[in-house]
């Protein structure tokens, strides 16, 4: 890290930039209501007002400007209005467009002036066709562009005022005109990304940064205007910019902000990991910050070196990179109806859900199927299942019922319009339609929570009730309903002796195949009311706590309220044979049909990564999971002792980073229950 990057780093980590922050008047909604403004007009007005209030702040030594100074965005609707909207529609999370991947590249290349011309031309089309709504939408987009250009001008004037003519020169070009070099492209990105957050969208992902920005870098290096070292310094400064305002972004916990970046990938039989990809890994490793969150797309074509570079980053304990397997994901997306070239361009959303940049208005986290709750429901049915297969039939039936119910619960979705985001999504301008109405892809995704808990529960039922006949249904139910009080020996047997998923035991693992394929079958023919499909997945998100909290004890020996494992991983208390067995158990062929996203997550003790030899071996494990047909892998280097100590002495661990469920966070900023879950996961780390 150069001295100037280090200075900026310190400035931001010490939160000294917070002194520039200010509040924006809260009660603008009543005024909007009094004027009977439509939602899109409100979005436009708020954007313009907040952008106008954003002051130019240029930090000493920086080359890429833009600092968020407005803290919270004021609500768009009065409380009554919002309640009214909610009573008439299904509202996803906060109501805003979120968790998608915009196409930054097109605008970075062409510049906002050209984009605005495009908008005006389409606006004129709307006039001709008397499309009032379209006209209004485009009018808002055009004024949003003006507001951003105005902010850029104020930054430029400020740069001139303080004598930073280098910055002024950059702002002379971007974002008004297309970027002509690497630094301009980075600055342009910063303008666009910043604007999305100001508009109110969240979990604004970064996408295939190493692909769309590489031409600028290559060009600069080729014509000698930038050295690799200079480019690296700029990249580090750029990465720092993701950590400036992120505490103002909405999420379930601090750190849950969706700034995920995807590296590598394959196209036309070639692996696309390039010089910029490698620089990103190096920068992330050196900076040791939670953002951006790094993903690597790998395939059978990916050289070993990439896995090793990735493992070097894992060693740092930042909770990334996360890997996804092109060989599984791309064909799976194609069979879900994505066009081949779009599927090849896939990225991950905030956590791990597979989406298509610039074209997908998928909502991949709209609901979650609670697998252990299905098992719980079925064991409590007053029916005698003579054979285990009959019991499985019942499980299947209930999964179908539950999936259908989840699908009918998410009908009639309404989202707050997102005119600026629409500028970055394919077809919105041409069609004069806001992105909140949808895009080329409008699928919904259902997570699948507690898969291993459900598999282990079924395996225990099969073994003890139907095979060994050492346990009766009555005794099991009594134990479960009493949370194992008076059934201590059974509890111990179920927890520590019963078959578990993760031991490479084909018989137990086939139950995972059964659950996954049933989940896929149940979603197969479902459609949402936006013309999209329902995608089944293996992620848990925060449901590993939410779904588990209210669920009674389960037949795998899990006590009432005890958490599920994160995403697609062995149960938290299962003493499984080891990482190789886990990889074999979890690489199930059915993953091709449950491809909404959700990685196998594994914790390794940080001491495993000591030397080059060990790094290579751990890297080969990642490669192995992919070779066996795994879809996504998240490997974490953890130090249990440090985590326990950090709970006692948070003041000493300000920089300790952990992976939560699909994102990384500063451990001490998490609520206790999320901290405890992370610690729980490390109990059987390898």
């Amino acid at each position: 890290m150069t001295e100037s990057v280090q200075k900026l780093y310190d400035f931001i980590r010490e939160k000294r930039h917070h002194k520039f922050r200010k509040e924006f008047p809260y009660d603008i909604a009543q005024g909007f209501a009094d004027l009977h403004l439509s939602p899109i007009e409100r979005m436009g007005q708020r954007f313009i007002a907040v952008m106008a209030a954003e002051g130019p702040v240029i930090l000493e030594g920086e080359h890429i400007v833009l600092l968020r100074t407005i803290k919270a965005l004021p609500p768009l609707f009065t409380e009554e209005e919002w309640q009214d909207i909610k009573s008439k529609h299904y509202i996803h999370e906060h109501g805003y467009v979120c968790n998608i991947s915009p196409n930054y590249a097109l605008t970075i290349a062409s510049g906002l002036e050209a984009r605005k011309k495009e908008v005006i031309a389409c606006q004129n089309q709307c006039l001709l066709s008397e499309d009032k709504e379209g006209y209004l939408f485009l009018k808002v987009v055009a004024s949003d562009i003006d507001a951003l250009l105005d902010l850029a001008d104020r930054y430029r004037n400020e740069a001139i005022r303080i004598g930073r003519l280098d910055i002024a020169a950059i702002l002379e070009r971007v974002p008004r005109y297309g970027a002509t070099n690497f630094l301009e492209a980075l600055q342009f990105f910063r303008f666009l990304h910043f604007s999305l957050w100001i508009e109110g969208e969240y979990h604004n992902t970064i996408g295939r940064f190493d692909q769309y920005l590489f031409p600028y870098l290559q060009n600069d290096l080729d014509n000698g205007t930038l050295t690799e070292e200079q480019a690296f310094d700029l990249l580090e400064e750029f990465f720092l910019s993701f950590n400036r305002d992120s505490d103002l972004y909405p999420g379930v916990q601090q750190g849950d902000n969706g700034q995920s970046l995807v590296l590598g990938g394959t196209a036309l039989g070639r692996d696309l990991f390039n010089k910029l990809s490698e620089m990103c890994l190096r920068a992330s490793k050196e900076l040791h910050l939670i953002d951006p969150k790094i993903n690597i797309r790998v395939s059978s074509l990916t050289p070993d070196r990439v896995f090793e570079l990735g493992t070097e980053l894992t060693k740092e304990g930042l909770g990334f990179p996360q890997y996804s397997n092109d060989d599984v994901v791309i064909p799976a997306l194609i069979s879900l109806g994505y066009q081949a070239n779009d599927a090849q361009d896939y990225v991950v959303a905030a956590c791990w859900e597979f989406i298509v940049p610039g074209k997908g208005m998928d909502i991949p986290n709209i609901a979650a199927l609670n697998f252990p709750a299905i098992v719980d429901h079925c064991i409590h049915e007053p029916v005698i299942f003579e054979h285990f297969e009959q019991f499985l039939e019942e499980i299947k039936k209930q999964i179908f019922i539950e999936v259908n119910k989840l699908a009918s619960d998410v009908k009639n979705l309404w989202m707050i319009p997102a005119p600026f985001m629409s500028l970055l999504m394919e077809g919105c301008i041409d069609k004069a339609r806001d992105i909140s109405y949808g895009c080329k892809y409008n699928n919904y995704g259902f997570h699948g929570t507690g898969i291993s808990t459900a598999v282990d529960s079924l395996a225990a039922i099969r073994k003890y009730i139907y095979e060994d006949k050492s346990l009766s249904w009555a005794e099991l139910l009594d134990a479960i309903d009493k949370d194992f009080a008076g059934h201590e020996e059974l509890l111990s047997k179920l927890r520590y002796e019963a078959p578990k998923m993760g031991n490479a035991d084909p018989k137990t693992d086939s139950l995972a195949s059964f659950l996954l394929s049933t989940f896929a079958d149940a979603t197969e023919n479902l459609h949402n009311d936006r013309g999209g499909r329902i995608r089944a997945g293996t992620g848990s998100a925060m449901y590993y706590i939410w779904h588990a909290r209210d669920l009674g004890a389960s037949p795998d020996g899990r006590r009432k309220g005890e958490w599920f494992s994160a995403n697609y991983s062995p149960s938290l208390f299962a003493r499984v044979a080891g990482p190789l067995s886990i990889v074999k158990s979890f690489a199930r062929p059915e993953l091709k049909r449950t491809i909404n996203g959700g990685p196998l997550t594994m914790e390794f003790h940080s001491t495993l990564f000591q030397d080059k030899d060990s790094i290579e071996k751990v890297a080969s494990l990642v490669r192995l999971f992919m070779k066996l047909g795994g879809h996504q892998f998240q490997l974490n280097a953890v130090n249990r002792e440090a985590l326990l100590d950090a709970q006692l002495h948070p003041e000493r661990y300000g920089n300790l980073i952990v992976r939560v469920w699909g994102w990384s966070a500063y451990f001490v900023e998490l609520n206790k229950e999320y901290q405890d879950h992370v610690i729980r996961r490390t109990e059987y780390s390898f």
């Binding site: 020996e489 080891g578 067995s581 030397d611 060990s614 080969s620």
Partner: protein, 299 residues
């Protein structure tokens, strides 16, 4: 008996005359420091040495024994209630009831065939990652029949043996012939010091080492660096000298003393007597070996 067997087929397994039973205390996957590639290490229980710094004390006794993680115990007392489980006989506690899973029996008897069946499930993976099986301990040569039977089942996959070298010559020879790689521990060059640190002198070990060196087979020399015990220049130099003639066949691995070595002793209700080592920093200077052209790594 000829142990250069070809791949196992089910017919052979059925006609194999004896499936010796042995006692093991752990199977670990993805052991990264136990030989080439990705490996599975099997820990055989029982060791004729008792090294002061031993960090696997449950590997010393050849029999299953009780291991209790006191940390986390809520003293519910349920394990003290008499039970009728055959597995618990003679242990004075029920090992099948702890709601927190804190009580375990370390070590169990298993036939070489059952064990191999269990671990051969991973053979495809290990082959593809250029690894194999490492038989460690305890002292694997302490259960020679079991060990040799096991190897015959594991062949043709890569098999390494990690040994203290303390075994009768004919047993060591056979192990050398059967294994693809020997990981040979060298604790001290001086017989007296060796006896003090491990409970036995090193005559047998040294003569087996000579066999290994003269065989011309590649091997790994593993040297635990115990601060204040064997890391003085004189002993390091002597060790390096000893390995010099094998320099084209040996890779030297220096294993720094494990500061958590004492962690498991309380679980076995034993007292760790190596605290003196905890206060010192091991001298991990590879130069004694480097100077003689020996390939050396610090693990």
């Amino acid at each position: 008996m000829n142990y250069n067997v070809s791949p196992i087929n089910s017919e052979m397994i059925q006609t194999q005359p004896s499936y010796t039973e042995g006692c093991i205390f752990d199977i670990k996957e993805l052991t990264v420091h136990d030989g080439p590639g990705v490996r599975v290490t099997i820990f055989l229980k029982g060791c004729p040495l008792s090294c002061i710094w031993c960090h696997n004390p449950e590997g010393i006794s050849p029999k299953p024994e009780l291991m209790i993680r006191e940390n986390g115990c809520r003293h519910c007392g349920m394990c003290l209630k008499p039970c009728n489980h055959p597995e618990c006989q003679g242990l004075g506690r029920c090992i099948k009831i702890c709601p927190l899973g804190l009580i375990q029996k370390s070590g169990y008897y298993i036939s070489s065939r059952d064990l191999s069946e269990k671990i051969l499930r991973l053979s495809d993976v290990l082959d593809s990652l250029h690894g194999g099986y490492t038989l460690s301990g305890g002292e694997p040569l302490f259960q020679p029949r079991f060990l040799f039977d096991l190897i015959s089942f594991l062949k043709p996959h890569h098999v390494a043996i990690e040994t203290s070298g303390f075994a009768e010559t004919h047993i060591f020879k056979k192990a050398m012939d059967l294994a693809d790689l020997i990981l040979f521990d060298i604790k001290h060059m001086d017989p007296e010091a060796h006896k003090k640190g491990t409970g036995v002198d090193n005559n047998l070990i040294q003569s087996n080492l000579s066999l290994l060196i003269s065989s011309g087979k590649p091997f790994i020399a593993r040297i635990p660096i115990i601060p204040g015990y064997n890391d003085d220049p004189a002993n390091m130099r002597a060790t390096a000298q000893r390995l010099k003639e094998a320099k084209d066949n040996v890779r030297v691995e220096l294993l720094p003393y494990n500061p958590f070595a004492g962690a498991k002793y309380p679980m076995l209700r034993r007292i760790y007597s190596g605290q003196e080592f905890d206060k010192k920093v091991p001298n991990l200077d590879p130069s004694f070996f480097d100077e003689l052209g020996l390939e050396t790594v610090i693990l």
